[in-house]
Amino acid sequence: MASRSTPVRISLRSVTKSFGPTPALDAVSLDVEAGEIIAVVGMNGAGKTTLLRCLLGLVAPDSGEIHYDGEQFHRERLDLRRRMFLLPDFPLVYPNMSVLRHIDLVLCLYEADRSAADERVIGLLREFDMLPYIDAALGTLSRGQAYKAALAALMAVDPELWMFDEPFASGMDPAGLLAFRTHVRDALRRGRTVLYTTQLLGLAEFADRVCVLHRGRVHAFDRIERLKAQHAGGATDALEQLFAQLHEGPS
């Protein structure tokens, strides 16, 4: 890969974004250390997806700054963008393109090291049960299969920052979800940073730290054990209780 293969540190400073009068992100400040898995949780409309889109440059913040390893980010910083990917819950693929051709083009555009990537691709396709479909058009696949194809392409690139929007609601089967978790853990060992959003509180515990967004603000950002200790005296359903409070409490 053309980019550096060093862990990436993310820093958000008072990032604000609103759509009309509705604030999607309200002065969000976060520091994510390299080699962490971060789960972003929150209710519908809390700003989870907007946060990820800001991090990729799809959405431009109204104010505030985003830094990767201390360097300010904007969407024309291709050197930084080659070090990350974002996979939406509905992958954007060409319906007429075959799985292999899609993967090939993604590797080319990320300028990935092909000798290493090709082997990874075969392994990933095998684990995601996608080998039978390599020449099938993406438009003829189910949503979960198309997601796996897109996932295999980006995982094969293996940049420093992995971002997923609702990966656990992507239509993947249990085997696919298991493979996904295994690969994320492996990536962590290689120093990758992983951010994912989820509505399933049980799956937030898969992360090192949890960021609770509520109405565009960071309500909590800590390790899961500490969140549990703070909010429900260490009860197993601490996150559920926290959300119940947020749901009932004043805005």
Partner: protein, 627 residues
């Protein structure tokens, strides 16, 4: 919706609002959401930006276009033949769209999950198309109203013209419904296209034998029966022609009977979900429609409504197991030998990165390569037209038809050849994001690639520029030098226009900047550089140029008029660069998002243009990896 349904709905709405009002927190949140939703000026503003100049220009040129056009030259019959063709188009369009809605629609996507009867689906699909078909009233009112005005008819004449216009609409609906129910395999698209083309061709060659042709149209075409009643029965006093109303009434009545039958017999056998596309409802109607001539003539349109390929996982698995053993993954890119010669040639001028970028942004499309030879052939074929028809019978001046054919073929190549699917932003998960934005692809590198390709294509298009120049210069006795000069001007316009092409492509992937006073200039810039915004911009530029020239010439300021002309010329020539710079600034400064809540009209237009033409290579099926 029955009265009981309506009452239930009102009751539900009332209770829901009461529940909201009961809690101050809920009410505050509700008000906030409503404030975001209610922006009454948001929709009218872009409509006004487009509509006002279009209306102004239409009104300004209304007299010139119609009075000095068809009516003055050919009389009422000339106008009514065109109206008959347009109403035939409306009836065929009704049939095609009703078929499409019965096969797939957003509404079907929703109802496929709900216990909704097929009868209800058929009724609502018909109702929706009937509502849209009211647009067919517009040309009828326009044409008949103008005839009434030009013939200086009294109130009775105006009332009859109005009644005939409304009846035209009803006949179109009735005819459309009849075609769907009684003759589903009727090639509606082919008939609509050929009738419009036939009329255009007939008028281009000077409309010979108009009275005879008018009688044929009035007799043979259902949309012509009412025109016959108006033109011959009312305007010329042939009382017996009023009997033409009888078959028209029969068609309307039969149409409504067919609607009842449609509700009775429309039966959905099952739904198919196409990923990223649509829900398809399988029914006998579609089977019949699929066997029509339209399918042969418009295979790409039908492709969207076709079921996914019925290959089972087992079949694919067997096929692929052998493939895996035989080759490695790294040969998955299409074989170079599989590419067309022009594509191979243009890649010699691209870097490796640009070549990859081209593959991704065009989704491996080689459409340009396939269209180019056809367009060259068309251009060569129209050159002899100057010898056969040096001028159109009944018209002064040279024959402009060959120029128009060349120009249209050029525009076709330009539009269809530029298939940049990477700018496409499918609607998924409540948002539209352009494909390129998710990958590390920059604004400047896409721009560079597009300019590079345009330069390469300008060289290939040189013969076509010369043909266009020939059409312009040869009829007025120009020399070969003159042809070369005009050809060079065409080439310059083509290259200069690339700035607009790139600007529009990017602008359509962007949302509208925030509605704040400080952002007003960006909002205007975004609106002006979009597909819809360019139309009023062209019209305004034309108006300013023409009116400015006329005013200055009338005031006797010849030198100022020349300067004004040069200044406006320079501004227009520089506009592509200005547009590109503005869009680039919006992109780089983060004034806009690359996410839209819904697809823009321009984006939808571009996408539908791009999807209509596919490479023959892709038409055969999924592209295979290299052998």
């Amino acid at each position: 919706m029955s009265p009981t349904d309506r009452e239930s709905r009102r009751s539900l709405v009332h209770q829901a609002h009461q529940a909201v009002r009961a809690s101050p927190d809920l009410r505050a949140e509700y008000d906030r959401v409503q404030r975001a939703r209610r922006r009454p000026w948001r929709t009218p503003l872009p409509i006004a930006i487009v509509a006002i100049p279009v209306l102004a220009v239409t009104l300004l040129f209304f007299r010139m276009l119609l009075v000095s056009g068809i009516y003055t030259r050919l009389g009422a019959d000339g106008v009514l033949i065109v109206l008959s063709a347009v109403e035939t188009l409306a009836a065929c369009g009704f049939a095609v769209n009703l078929h499409r809605l019965l096969r797939t629609s957003m509404w079907l996507t929703v109802t496929s999950h709900l216990p909704v009867s097929d009868r209800s689906i058929a009724w609502h699909a018909w109702l929706l198309i009937a509502a849209w078909s009211a647009l067919g009233l517009y040309p009828a009112l326009w044409a008949l109203g103008f005839v009434a005005y030009a013939e200086k008819l009294g109130p009775t004449g105006w009332c009859i013209a109005l009644a005939i216009a409304v009846a035209q609409w009803l006949v179109a609906i009735g005819m459309g419904t009849l075609l769907v129910v009684r003759w589903p395999s009727f090639p509606a698209s082919s008939v609509a296209m050929s009738s419009i083309l036939a009329v255009a061709l007939y008028y281009t060659v000077g409309a010979p034998g108009l009275p005879t042709v008018a009688h044929v149209v009035y007799t043979a075409v259902p949309a012509g029966w009412l025109n016959a009643a108006f033109a011959l029965g009312y305007l010329k006093g042939a009382t017996w022609v009023w009997s033409a109303l009888v078959p028209a009434v029969v068609v309307v009545a039969a149409g409504f009977a067919a609607l009842r039958k449609l509700q009775d017999i429309y039966s959905i056998h099952g739904f198919t979900f196409r990923f990223g596309n649509m829900v398809l409802a399988a029914s006998d109607f579609w089977t019949a429609r699929s066997s029509s001539l339209d399918r042969r003539l418009f295979p790409n349109v039908f492709r969207f409504f076709a079921d996914p390929r019925p290959e089972g996982p087992a079949a694919i698995r067997d096929q692929v197991a052998a493939e895996i053993i035989r080759r490695t993954f790294s040969t998955a890119a299409p074989a170079k030998s599989g590419r067309r010669i022009l594509d191979r040639l243009q890649r010699r001028f691209l870097t490796r990165r640009q070549s990859d970028l081209l593959d991704y942004m065009t989704a491996d499309s080689l459409a340009w390569n396939y269209i180019y030879p056809y367009i060259v052939l068309v251009n060569i074929a129209v050159i002899p037209l100057h010898l056969v028809f040096p001028s159109v019978p009944g018209q002064r001046g040279p024959n402009m038809a060959p120029f128009m054919i060349s120009m249209l073929s050029f525009v076709y190549l330009f539009m269809r050849g530029g298939k940049w699917f990477g700018f496409g932003a499918p609607f998924f998960g409540g948002a539209c994001m352009p494909r390129f934005a998710l990958l590390p692809i920059g604004f400047d590198e896409i721009s560079r690639l597009m300019v590079k390709l345009a330069c390469f294509r300008a060289v290939l298009l040189a013969p076509m520029f010369l043909v266009l120049a020939f059409h312009c210069v040869a009829p007025v006795g120009g020399s070969w030098f003159g042809i070369a000069i005009v050809g060079t001007i065409f080439a310059f316009l083509y290259l200069a226009g690339q700035g607009w092409v790139i600007a529009i492509r990017f602008a359509e992937t962007m949302n509208t900047p925030k509605p704040r006073l400080a952002q007003l200039h960006w909002r205007i810039a975004r609106a002006a550089t979009g597909v819809v915004g360019v139309i009023p911009l062209i019209l305004i530029a034309d108006l300013v140029l023409l009116s400015g020239m006329i005013l200055l010439e009338e005031a006797g300021l010849q030198s100022v008029a020349s300067l004004f002309l040069v200044g406006m010329g320079l501004l227009i020539a520089a506009s592509p660069l200005i547009a590109w710079l503005i869009v680039r600034a919006m992109y780089r400064r983060g004034v806009v998002d690359l996410v839209r809540a819904r697809p823009s009209i321009g984006q939808q237009t571009l996408q539908s243009y791009e999807q209509l033409w596919r490479d023959p290579r892709q038409r055969r099926g999924t592209p295979k990896a290299a052998e």
